[in-house]
Amino acid sequence: MCSFVDVGLISSRKFILLKLPDYFPLYASLTGAFLTFLVLVFHIPTSLLFLSKLSIIYRVNFYLDGLTCFFLFIIFNISFLFLYYQKDLCKNKYFLVSYILSLSLILAGNLYFFTIVLALLFLMNYKNRQRNASLYWLILPCLLGFMSCIPVLMNNQQDLFYIVFSGKTSSLNLNYLIFFLVLPVCCLLGFFDFRGEEKNNLHAIFEDEKIYYTNIFKNLIGFYGLLRIFISFYNYNLSMIFIVLFEFIVVITALKASWFCLKVSNLFNRLRYLFILNNAISIQLIVILFLALYLQKTALLELNYIILFFSLFIQNHGFALVFLLNSLKEKINNSFFIDSLFFLGLLLSGFPPFAGFVLFWGNLQLGISLILNHYLFDMILALFFIGCNAVIYLFSLLGWVNLFLALYKNYNDRLTAIGSYFNFLLGYGKGIRIYLLSLFIFSVCPGIILYWTYGIKNNFPSIGKFHFFSFKSEQLHIAFTPVFSVFIFGMVVYVFFFIKKKYFIVSMDPQNNQFKISDRKKYKNYLDITRFEFGTKTILNVLKDNFSLDIHSYLFLRKKTEYLKIYKTIRLYKKKFNILIWEHEQATLFILILISLLSIGLLV
């Protein structure tokens, strides 16, 4: 289908690196998934595994622990999904290279190997004459700073070369590490590629769409890098500045992404910005982790870990499927595509009680309980945190609603009954249906995933009691069990349909059985005129109609002419100002001295 894609460093026409037969990576990833599943479920101590023995022989460290197994499991799952549909996706092996790179990075035992593979990944995605290509040459020196901030004198004099992840080396200063990790991780999570609707190179957007699913690996690596550094070198003397900087970047990108996903009309771009929005919200959890450590509130850590890993698991699997479907858009029939996107949206967006809402709920509860002491600064921080989260959640809701409206607006005459989506007799897309149903089950009763994250127990200091159905933490009196509400809703719906089927005859007319959305003849004109798009114009009009709030003039930048006017007035007054100073030279001098003395006094 899409024959060759010139993306990143590898010009795939000459891609002769990997000549493996097609089925080899498929089975390899399957076995990998199975092995890591075993390790996670049965909490096998990872020191037994043969991989960690490999390092002694080849002096290249491989390191395996609960965290790596968790991320490996996700990567194997996603790659199995993509390899299964590789025939329909692109021909070139661009996906395989990023897959192998991400695997080697996660297995990397020492920091040198870690930074090398991370840099390779950045170079892979470098496209010259890209909009933010000059950003790459700011990220690579960050990695240099990252690598050189770790003191050469590790515990053993012998191994100057490797700074290994295995030992608990608390001699490091985490601030510098985080400071140098902020930019690369944000770039990995896609916080900087806010490409607007470039009309001129549509080709770029089309080309990008086909292989955007590889960004899932970049995203995972970003999270893994941050968590790995945090676990291996964490100590308590973080400094507040870096955390606030990180929080500031995350909030800004979240707001920007949410605004863009309302403005943009292309389906792919809308999905992309929602992906970035969800990343930003889950990164906020990690920032809360750092804040909890800084404020020495260990009661929060347990719930934070659980929610973080739960949302990581669901979000990555969900968005992998979303982008895979988007790449397969032409090949599969439309109704299946729309329904699965609808269910995925329901899962990821933040509609209660599924995974998106859990992410938002966790963020809010942890954020509030983190800041709960009685100082004015904390109060302002709490209000800022709540306000930003509210706006982000509001815009993400509108973003997903916008997506569903767009979907139903374009394809609404081919909509099958949603109820019949999950009966597995239908032929096409059985794998995807099973995948989706399992995701729903996981999101409703999180115990299954939380049992796996307990494999990471020895990494984290304080993982408490295990609750199968709910996110609960006794000290903070926070609890949320999604399964009960689904159970009640299911009961109510079942009662209605039971009565309907038992006592009332389904109408004999077969044609009537077929689900029809509407006979669009009567009110054709209304629907087409009304703008369903939630673009800027609609929102501004809505605010103007309902609340008579005209914010059009504030939002958009003034034209250039106004700047010119300001510049002319300044120039006019400059001459007068010089003459003034020249006349009252002594006075101005005296005033300047006075001001400087006062400021110094103030400072001291």
């Binding site: 460093l9 590898i10 010009s11 000459k14 002769i16 002096r59 290249v60 040198y112 930074t115 090398i116 593979v117 991370l118 840099a119 390779l120 170079l123 470098y126 010259n128 004459r129 890209q130 290509a133 000059s134 790459y136 040459w137 700011l138 690579l140 020196p141 990695l143 240099l144 700073g145 690598m147 050189s148 901030c149 770790i150 003191p151 050469v152 004198l153 004099q157 012998q158 100057l160 070369f161």
Partner: protein
């Protein structure tokens, strides 16, 4: 052949005398092609001998003239490695560079003086006596003068003569410093050894190309024929650096740390500013400066470790850069070289720089961070316009693979292989 030590000594003198034998061999061959082939064979055998001379541990006691320790062995191997790489590159990329403008006599003399130059360098690295070392160093520079005379051209001769005079002045200054340090009462006054060591160090570091002499050295290197130029670019700095590192063994010597750091940073900034127009010849100067910076802390294990790492980088990237500049290769090669030299991960001098900065952050945090910011600024200046094509069809040819191999060799392969050996060198050198 009573003990293994004697074998090591014989091998050491072997790797000194072998280049002379090579020169005689080249004389005896007749015909351009035979001479060049003989030259290549001699250089290949040279690296074999030097490796052997290093592998065999020596138990020779201290002698005033000839002193063997693992660090000088390491330097000799590196010099041999550099020579191998430069000859191999010239043969692969521009075979006609051997023959200088058709003049039979000039190519012959160039080849012979190349070997004599190597022999003197091998000698100079291991000599322990300060005065004899100065003789050999000055002999090296005299050889360069003679090569310039042979190849003719008033421009060449003038630059060589200027460089020759400057180095003579700095050597005299160094000798004055040594005599001040050798005074019997040097310990009783705290200013005297400081002044003496200041003069001594200032004399030596100017020789390997720090500011202000680097412009002269740069002009000299450009004039030289490509075979000798690519080798001179790293042999002269390495030899003078070995002298600079051995200064710590002089009894009264006190290292003027702040002055040296300042001078190094100043020359770093100047090289960065001048680098925009021709990176390929100036880049080795950057490596020399970084080696000098890490040599300042040569009395500690990490200092020597960084020096060894940077010597590896210098030995491989100096000829590569010089020949890239001379040969007309595609811009993709140059982009890869620029990436390797920019100290960004993953290839090139990233690992050595990170180890150096990490150590500096420990010792002098302000210096570590200033160096890091310098790398940031340099990265921005180097890669400002973002249309760098790294992958194209040229890279998938023979030359492309050779270039990438050469870039990956010092950045990943050599540090891993030689990590244990360098650490032993550092331990032995510091505890002496």
């Amino acid at each position: 052949m009573a003990s293994v030590g004697d074998l090591a000594k014989i091998l050491y003198w072997g790797c000194v005398i072998w280049p002379l034998v090579g020169a005689i061999g080249i004389l005896s061959c007749h015909g351009q092609k035979a001479k060049i082939r003989c030259h290549i064979i001699v250089t290949i055998i040279l690296i074999v001998i030097t490796l052997l001379s290093v592998m065999i541990p020596n138990d020779f006691n201290f002698s005033i003239l000839w002193n063997y320790d693992s660090f000088t062995g390491f330097l000799r191997v590196m010099i041999a490695l550099g020579i191998i790489i430069s000859t191999f590159l010239i043969k692969l990329w521009m075979p006609n560079r051997f023959i200088t403008s058709g003049n039979e006599m000039k190519t012959l003399m160039n080849l012979i003086f190349f070997h004599v130059f190597v022999c003197v360098a091998m000698l100079a690295v291991a000599i322990n006596n300060f005065f004899i070392l100065l003789i050999f160093l000055y002999l090296l520079i005299f050889l360069l003068l003679i090569v310039c005379f042979i190849n003719g051209g008033s421009e060449k001769v003038k630059s060589a003569w200027n460089y020759f005079r400057y180095i003579l002045f700095f050597m005299i200054i160094a000798l004055m410093g040594v005599f001040i340090l050798a005074l019997p009462i040097v310990q009783s006054y705290e200013l005297l050894p400081k002044f003496g060591s200041f003069i001594l160090v200032f004399g030596i570091i100017q020789a390997y190309g720090l500011f202000p002499v680097c412009t002269l050295f740069y002009r000299l290197v450009i004039q030289l024929p490509s075979l000798i130029g690519s080798v001179v670019l790293f042999v002269v700095p390495i030899v003078f650096l070995s002298l600079f590192v051995k200064l710590f063994q002089i009894s009264g010597y006190q290292n003027p740390q702040l002055f040296l750091i300042g001078l190094n940073l100043l020359s770093f900034i100047i090289v960065v500013l001048k680098e925009k127009d021709d990176l390929f010849v100036l880049a080795p100067f950057l490596l020399i400066i970084l080696t000098g910076l890490s040599a300042i802390f040569a009395n500690s294990i990490e200092g020597i470790y960084c020096v060894c790492l940077f010597v590896i980088m210098l030995v491989i990237f100096a000829p590569l850069g010089y020949l890239l500049d001379k040969g007309n290769l595609s811009s993709v090669f140059k982009n890869w070289f620029k990436l390797a030299l920019s100290a960004f991960p993953p290839f090139g001098i990233f690992y050595a720089c990170s180890v150096l900065i990490a150590y500096l952050v420990l010792q002098l945090p302000w210096l570590g961070y200033s160096l890091l910011t310098l790398f940031f600024i340099r990265g921005y200046f180097l890669f400002r316009n973002s249309n760098y094509q790294f992958f194209s069809n040229e890279i998938l040819t023979k030359e492309g693979y050779c270039l990438i191999g050469l870039i990956i060799l010092p950045s990943i392969v050599l540090p891993i292989l030689s990590q244990y050996w360098i650490f032993q060198i550092a331990l032995q050198f510091v505890h002496k």
